[in-house]
Symmetry: C2
Subunit: 127 residues, 2 copies
């Protein structure tokens, strides 16, 4: 593994929650300048394939990523204020796989993402 990829992997671990490729690149510009944006994209792509980084939504036009090493079927809960990401069990209990719903439609896959405010952000709001 190259020095750049190691640095990028550290930045991913240091990230509080969800981030975009450009945000990660900006954070690297401070601590480890000189790493190209294309390299960040390549490293994040490799981590997605390896399973340590997952796509958790979109913000504006950009893909939101987050570190998530959990394996097995699960989903994510994203704080819309601070970006914190929490892995959660599938609220459907995996019960839909191969099941028929509606008018004979057989479900092969599903996407679920929950959004809200984490405990910390709620405490800091006091509105």
């Amino acid at each position: 593994m190259s020095d750049q990829r190691a640095t990028i992997a550290e930045a991913v671990v240091a990230a509080a929650g969800a981030f975009t490729a450009e945000e990660l690149h900006r954070s690297l510009a401070v601590s480890a300048p000189g790493i190209g944006l294309a390299t960040v994209y390549r490293a994040l792509g490799a981590m997605q394939e390896a399973g340590s980084v997952t796509q958790v939504g979109q913000r504006d036009g950009s893909t939101l990523l987050a570190r998530c090493g959990r394996d097995g079927h699960h989903h994510h809960l994203v704080c819309t204020s601070c970006g914190r990401v929490i892995a959660i069990d599938c609220p459907l209990g995996g019960s839909l796989a191969g099941r028929e719903v509606g008018d004979g439609h057989v479900i092969t896959r599903h996407e679920i993402t929950l959004y809200g405010l984490c405990a910390d952000c709620r405490a800091h709001e006091e509105d």
Copy 2:
């Protein structure tokens, strides 16, 4: 309402299921040539605001849209073969709204999309 928007609205109704803006524009090129792609985007945007068209996912880089006039909280079930879209009740029963999950995270919103094969596509597969 302009002639163009009426034509685009008809094409949306005629569409079998999910479609991209470009696909709709291509279908118009046959029956009603001369309508600009920007006009299609503008009309689809207006229909989204009006609530008659909804975003049901992404395919490659493009936004997938579908006609859906149903109101109230619901989600969608998309056939990955023919694009047919079926509205479904929220499988969470709306139970999550305002509820705490995980470590005190309060859910304000969620996204659910189911994918699979509709009855027709399953019948035509016989593999």
